[in-house]
């Protein structure tokens, strides 16, 4: 360890001029050790444990009907919820950045509520609102729209969770947008619709996709806000995290491990995509 740090210290280019600050070895060492003990080693356990399963057993678990139904539901609901978040999120970001109206500051501050509100609280609150006797449920019930204990309920919960991701990735890009470009386009005769389609939309596209991917990734793993409203009926409203949870409760560790490993690989794949998108967005912004 000490030698590695020493070599790194020699290699590091340093900032031009001035003397180097102290504490590099200590802080880097502490960071690496803490990160390894708390995050890397425990995460590795999941892959070690799933490697203990034979290929046959592993495939058997993840191609089980109930598991496949769960994956389909989790993917489908997260996808629809992320798309809904994009639509509502874009509208919200646009209204917050471009228009001035009473209550704007309040709404702007409140957008982060789903980040701050514990998921279990969000879960029971949404379930109560959409229950057949609830504030919104009582209007939906006569129209035969059932939200609680259906996939629609899962989409509602995941949209709640995903919304701030889209708003907060798109908002700064919209704020930084140079209005003069729009003014120029409009004085050259471009219609508002043309400006929106050809000028604004391409500019906010990378950020929108990042927000979408963040909302989607969060939706795949989301647990607390969904379990109350979904009703957890196998084959119908059982999302992947809940299936893992049930397997653990039944002491089916191999099952939980295999499904967990697949989910984790998918999540990290998404994270990679998000990083690439953000890099793309930065590059676009830098070029603009």
């Amino acid at each position: 360890m000490a030698t590695t740090i020493a070599t790194i210290r020699k290699r590091r280019t340093g900032f031009s001029g001035g003397r180097a600050l102290p504490g590099f070895g200590l802080t880097l060492g502490y960071t690496v050790v803490y990160l390894s003990l708390l995050v890397l080693i425990p995460l590795t356990m999941l892959f070690v444990k799933s490697h203990e399963l034979s290929r046959h057993a592993f495939l058997g678990i993840i191609t089980d009907d109930r598991v496949v139904a769960s994956f389909k539901l989790s993917f489908g609901a997260s996808l629809i919820a992320a798309l809904t978040s994009v639509v509502i999120g874009l509208l919200t970001a646009w209204v917050l950045v471009r228009y001035r109206f009473p209550g704007r500051r309040l709404i702007d501050g409140f957008v982060d509520l789903p980040f701050a509100l514990p998921t279990a609280v969000a879960g029971i609150a949404l379930t109560t609102i959409f229950a057949p006797t609830g504030w919104l449920g009582k209007y939906l019930e006569p129209r035969h729209i059932k939200v609680d204990f259906t996939p629609l309920g899962i989409v509602v919960a995941l949209t709640f969770i995903g919304l701030p991701f889209v708003v907060r990735t798109v908002q700064p890009i919209l704020e930084d947008l140079d209005r003069e470009v729009e003014e120029a386009a409009s004085s050259l005769g471009a219609s508002r619709w043309q400006i929106v389609c050809r000028l604004l939309f391409p500019t906010i596209l990378p950020a929108t996709m990042t927000g979408f991917a963040l909302a989607f990734a969060r939706g795949l793993g989301e647990f607390g806000s969904v379990v109350f409203i979904s009703g957890n009926i196998p084959y119908k409203t059982e999302i992947i995290p809940l299936l893992i949870y049930s397997k653990l409760e039944e002491n089916d560790y191999p099952g939980a491990t295999a499904i967990g490993a697949v989910t984790l690989v998918l999540s990290f794949g998404l994270l990679l995509i998000i990083n690439v998108l953000q890099w793309w967005a930065r590059k676009r912004q830098g070029a603009a």
């Binding site: 003397r19 990160l35 279990a120 043309q194 109350f228």
Partner: protein, 313 residues
């Protein structure tokens, strides 16, 4: 870009012929051109009002209603019932456990966050980007999986099972497991706030302090800390909100022993499943208040930083 799609009601007031590959539009200018500045870069009033109302309606459903329903349900039997529900012994023990958990996890992650931010923002070294990415990892892990990895590690079939049972140490289905899982889930919050902030600040001020003879610790305490205090507070507030509100990960490792290993979110679930809605929403209202305080602090800090930013220019 075709000229034909221009809105027909706008009179041709001026002939501008700028030939750019991107904007080959000329000949027409919006009617608002009489004003000193062209104001066509916004929507008609009716559309603006409609969009504002639409967003307000959507956000009411998705943000304000969930918050309102928590308090309305908690107070459905009046203040008396609310206070009584607060005195429920299981609820009280869950509050204590939640405070204990956050009280350990948050300081641990603050120390880590400052350390990580110092080495990443003040030095150049190989593998820095990888390290930064790895710090973000817990954000990408489902809460249930975050709990599960510690069950695999410290559970009855894990590598330490023998050692733990010989020494009679309980981690899973006990308080240590809850603390560890919470620390994992809240791991990136402080580091994530500090790294970009300290990177933007550079190392000039610290170097100046060192040249003037300050020790490393003095430099950190007198120069760095005052510069990062708002960002640090922000990180702590977010970290704490998540630590107190974490449900999935804690749910897996806790075993949900009422009065012993139930944190507030778990006790909320317990009361809810027991149809004890007043008790459930009463506890939930406390966490909702915490969320509101978190939002207020966040906005105040952003405002303070914004003021500083404008003052600096």
């Amino acid at each position: 870009m075709a000229n034909g799609t221009l809105q027909p009601d706008k009179p041709a007031a001026n002939n501008l012929s700028v030939n750019s590959a991107k904007n080959r539009v000329g000949g027409q200018k919006p009617s608002t051109a009489r004003r000193p500045k062209p104001r066509a870069h916004t929507e008609p009033l009716a559309l603006r009002v409609a969009l504002i109302l639409l967003v307000m309606a959507l956000l009411t459903v998705f943000l304000f209603l969930p918050l309102a329903v928590v308090f309305s349900q908690a107070l459905q039997t009046g203040w008396h019932g609310y206070i009584e529900a607060m005195k429920d012994p299981d609820s009280i023990s869950s509050m204590k456990l939640t405070l204990l958990t956050a009280g350990i996890s948050v300081p641990l992650n603050v120390i880590f966050g400052v350390m990580a931010a110092w080495c990443i923002s003040k030095f150049q070294f190989r593998g820095k980007n990888i390290l930064t990415t790895l710090i973000d990892l817990p954000f990408g892990v489902s809460p249930v999986i975050s709990g599960m990895i510690f069950v695999l590690l410290f559970g009855a079939r894990g590598p330490f099972a023998h050692y733990l049972s010989v020494h009679d140490i309980k981690i899973i289905f006990a308080v240590p497991g809850i603390v560890i899982a919470t620390t994992f889930v809240t791991f990136p919050f402080v580091a994530r706030e500090l790294i970009p902030l300290m990177q933007a600040q550079g190392i000039d001020e610290e170097q100046a302090a060192m040249v003037l003879g300050a020790s490393g610790w003095q430099t950190f305490r007198r120069v760095t800390l005052p510069n990062i205090k708002w960002g640090l507070l922000y990180g702590v507030v977010l970290c704490n909100a998540r630590a107190m509100g974490e449900f999935g990960a804690v749910s897996v490792v806790s075993g949900q022993i009422v009065g012993v290993t139930n944190t507030m979110p778990l006790q909320i679930e317990q009361h809810y499943n027991d149809y004890n809605f007043v008790a459930s929403f009463t506890l939930a209202s406390l966490l909702a208040l915490l969320a509101l305080v978190t939002l207020v602090v966040k906005n105040v800090i952003e405002w303070v930083l914004g003021e500083k930013h404008t003052a600096g220019h």
